[in-house]
């Protein structure tokens, strides 16, 4: 379904022509085996708690999602209308797999799940999120996260 060849011509051309950041370096961080890793999720679905400030066009910042958040607390203010929301409406895990991560920790596939997770609003250019991402790195380290799962929408 998300193969570009499956999309209509206008959507396909728009996505193909979307500017992507070009990097000169290829950083690579190693770590312990998966069953000892502490995993945090970063979503770009524009998720946040009900009382948080909604994302708007051009939002460059992030929202904090505590690991013990109730699924009914999370809403979405991503600005795009060009993706399905009915999956999210039926099951939070289809975009934010916190319950599945907990299960994988219970099975010892991963070591543990971080206490805090985060969401950006993915319609913003990645370059504009860079300052917030660097700030976020320090917070993730304080949470002892050493594996970051990035989930688009």
């Amino acid at each position: 379904m998300a193969r570009l060849s499956d999309l209509n011509e206008a959507s396909r051309v728009r996505l193909l022509n979307l500017e992507c950041p070009a990097f000169e370096t290829r950083p690579w961080v190693s770590g312990p085996p998966l069953h000892k890793r502490r995993v945090a999720i970063i979503s770009t679905a524009g998720l946040h708690r009900r009382n948080d400030k909604p994302f708007t066009w051009g939002s460059k910042d992030y929202r904090i999602i505590p690991g013990d958040v109730s699924s009914n607390e999370l809403v979405m203010s991503h600005v795009s209308v060009n993706f399905d929301r009915t999956g999210f409406q039926q099951d939070l895990n289809v975009i934010f797999p916190l319950d599945r991560l907990r299960e994988l920790a219970g099975e010892r596939f991963i070591g543990s799940v971080a206490d805090f997770h985060y969401s950006f609003m993915g319609a913003t250019a990645p370059q504009d999120m860079e300052p917030a991402a660097r700030t976020l790195a320090a917070l993730l380290k304080k949470d002892h996260a050493d594996a970051i799962l990035l989930v688009p929408v």
Binding site: A2, L4, N8, A10, S11, L15, L16, C20, A22, F23, R26, P27, W28, V29, G31, L34, V39, T44, K53, T56, S71, N72, V75, M76, S77, V79, N82, F83, D84, R85, T86, G87, F88, Q89, Q90, D91, L92, N93, V94, D99, R100, L101, E103, L104, F109, I110, F120, P126, Q127, M129, A133, R134, A137, D146, A147, L149, L150, V151, P152, V153
Partner: protein, 243 residues
């Protein structure tokens, strides 16, 4: 997504990501990525299928054990489908509502009546799932619908929230309206694709017609932020033919 991965890795954090657009990931070359063939909005593939979601997660996390990269793997499974939608109809029968609504001379009254017909199904959806995604605008659903309908006829209508511009409030109210209808429509068991649900909302409901009309009105606005709302943020590209 690949950009965020690069910035975090530069800060000393190992990352892995799900990719929905392989062509972008090929260009950005993040350290580790799993491309999945799922539709936009469903990066884990299938709602309410924990076994499937865990297979995606395991495949996305496994590259963290690789010695070097960049790595771009393809997830080997697609979602089951296409779902047989022969004879699919929204479980919410609006025909009775439509007959009553036709008698309404005020379009807003018709919309409010349509919402009230859907309300029991929406309540059932909350009971079934223990949650709702409605509420991002901070307005109740009738207040939001009335705000959208009022703005359609009077562009000077102010934002009902002091912390949001009128354009931001319109956007969030439109998302709540769609979420209310679609949560109601999926309340009953039964398979329905996102495309069928979208066609029902945009093609058969007064709420869909309201948002299509709002798009047209916003495009005529002299306010650039309202014009942008109409251009990009109200109606999906694959439903614009209805405008």
């Amino acid at each position: 997504m690949g950009g965020l991965s690069h910035y975090l890795e530069e800060q000393g954090l190992a990352t892995t990501q799900i990719s929905l657009i392989r062509e972008h990931t090929e260009r950005i070359k993040p350290p580790r990525a799993l491309w999945v063939p799922f539709e936009f909005g469903r990066p884990l593939g299938l709602p309410n299928d924990s076994a499937f979601q865990k297979r995606v997660l395991r495949a996305a996390l496994s590259p963290l054990e690789a010695p070097s990269g960049p790595i771009l793997k393809d997830f080997p499974e697609d979602v089951p489908g296409p779902v047989d939608l022969t004879g699919w109809a929204c479980p919410v029968n609006l025909s009775e509502a439509t007959a009553e609504i036709r008698g309404e001379t005020d379009p807003t009254s018709g919309l409010i009546k349509e919402i009230s017909f859907l309300r029991p199904w929406y309540d059932m959806a909350i009971e079934k799932r223990g949650r709702t995604t409605v509420g991002v605008s901070g307005m109740d659903i009738q207040q939001g619908a009335q705000f959208l309908a009022t703005f359609l006829h009077d562009e000077s209508t102010p934002s009902p929230r002091a912390d949001l511009t009128v354009g931001e409030a319109l956007k969030l109210a439109s998302e709540d309206l769609k979420a209310f209808y679609l949560e109601a429509a999926t309340a009953q068991p039964g398979k329905s694709s996102s495309g069928e649900l979208a066609d029902w909302f945009w093609g058969e409901t007064l709420a869909g017609k309201l948002l299509l009309a709002l798009k047209a009105a916003c495009l005529k606005s002299s306010d650039p932020s309202i014009k942008m709302l109409g251009t990009l943020l109200l109606v999906p590209r694959n439903q614009e033919h209805r405008a």
